[in-house]
């Protein structure tokens, strides 16, 4: 009978084990290393928790695992909190996890390094995938929390530097459960539009846990798959996240990201002013250069040549006239002299020939007396013969 009393059906035994275990281990915390982690399409998580000598199956239902700020990875040591459940059809027991946290900050660091190595090996960080950031964006997509200080800072910077731009904010949670999913959804949402020039993904400073969403694979892949260039802007200068490695450009802070995404209005004003000044300067230079060129051309040898030619001709002509003048003057006076001599000779020749023939000239007081009535007997009379004179 005692044997009979110890006889259980499988179901009875399993039932007793189930109630024993489930009552005994209703609220437990267990530390262990994750292995065989699987995130089922249904949203439930299945994994094994182990240490050097033992292992135990774990489940974490969708809805609860939403509250875990990081995605578990194999090899990461975690502390889970939950209860033991027994699953009679399979005769196994497992921990039904209610919450999970990394066993220490070092575990997150390890998770970070593991993901970094994995994505790096896949080439997600390669420079060849990194695109240029446009200089004059018309629309800047921003993925952050719309009510966060980081967004305020970014708006201020954009307004001060380049108010021509429009900010398209796809607001999302940036920390805690579901943040990584929302961030990657927002990046995808912006990529569905075709008017966004650049995307800034980020948030202000915080603890490693606060920033963790930006270390999640899903965010890294969303950034990598973004057709629009992405600037990462997570936390402070010293914070490096996986998002930073995969982004086209890493900015140390959200404000710095907006500065990298926008040209500076003051620079542009200076540029325009410089042009206005330069142009006015330059055009007066060009005009005065042209004037100089005109006057240089007019004074050039080529232009002077015809005038010189005319001057030369004048000179030649003057010279010629002068020579003619001289020539004629000389000739004229020569003939004049000859004429005078001839004339006097001619005249003297007439008288002499008459005298020669026997006529005489009667003179009184050196005057020729041609008529008797002019003759004065009382006066001295000169008689000029051909061969001489006498006075009577």
């Amino acid at each position: 009978m005692s044997q009979q009393e110890n006889l259980f059906s499988v179901s009875e035994l399993t039932g007793q084990i189930k109630s024993t275990l489930e009552e005994q281990f209703d609220d437990i915390s267990v530390i262990g290393e994750i292995s065989n982690f699987k995130s089922h399409i249904s949203g439930h998580w299945y994994f094994t928790l182990k240490d050097a000598n033992a292992q135990i199956s774990c489940t974490m239902w969708k809805g609860l695992n939403n509250y875990v700020f990081f995605t578990p990875q194999d090899g990461i040591k975690v502390i889970v909190q939950g209860r033991i459940t027994v699953y009679p059809p399979r005769g196994n027991y497992q921990i039904e996890v209610r919450s999970m946290k990394p066993a220490g900050i070092g575990e997150l660091q390890a998770a970070f390094e593991k993901l970094k190595q994995k994505l790096s090996a896949e080439g997600l960080f390669d420079d060849k995938h990194k695109g240029p950031i446009p200089k004059f964006p018309m629309k800047i997509g921003v993925v952050t929390a719309i009510d966060g200080a980081a967004f305020q800072d970014m708006k201020n910077i954009a307004s001060r530097r380049y108010p021509l731009a429009e900010i398209i904010i796809a607001s999302c949670k940036v920390q805690g459960e579901g943040a990584a999913q929302e961030i990657s959804n927002s990046i995808k949402l912006l990529n569905e539009r075709n008017d966004i020039d650049v995307i800034i993904v980020g948030r202000g400073g915080g603890s490693l846990e606060d920033l963790w969403a930006f270390n999640e694979e899903i965010v890294a892949r969303a950034i990598f798959n973004s057709r629009i260039p992405v600037i990462s802007a997570v936390g402070h200068e010293i914070d490096f996240t996986i998002a930073d490695f995969v982004a086209d450009l890493r900015a140390p802070t959200p404000s710095a990201a907006m500065e990298l995404a926008t040209p500076n209005k003051d620079d542009l004003f200076a540029f325009i002013d410089e042009f206005s000044y330069y142009f006015t300067q330059k055009i007066s230079e060009i005009i005065s250069d042209s004037k100089d060129e005109v006057s240089r051309t007019i004074n050039s040898y080529g232009f002077r040549y015809p005038f010189d030619l005319i001057k030369n001709e004048f000179q030649f002509l003057d010279n010629l006239i002068y020579r003619f003048q001289n020539f004629f003057d000389n000739r004229f006076s020569l003939y004049k002299n000859k004429l005078a001599i001839t004339e006097s000779r001619l005249s003297s020749f007439d008288i002499n020939s008459t005298l020669k023939r026997g006529f005489v000239i009667i003179k009184q007081n050196d005057k020729i007396i041609p008529r008797l009535k002019n003759f004065d007997k009382a006066k001295l009379t000169e008689i000029k013969f051909y061969d001489g004179e006498i006075k009577l």
């Binding site: 731009a165 796809a170 949402l189 569905e192």
Partner: protein, 71 residues
Amino acid sequence: MRKKKESSFESSLQRLQQISDLLEKGEIGLEDSIKLYEEGINLAKNCYTTLKEAELKVTEIKKQFENGLKQ
């Protein structure tokens, strides 16, 4: 890299730079230089006004993707 139409502001600035380069080279006749000058001054004026009067616009896009992405 996708090709995208650049903003008129950006192309104005680029044209301004181009005009400056052309004038700098000094290979252009007087008449064309004056035309370029007028064009440049107008561009500079427009750019200045545009930039001075601009106000940042912020538009939020909501999470229509909750439905949109799952369809």
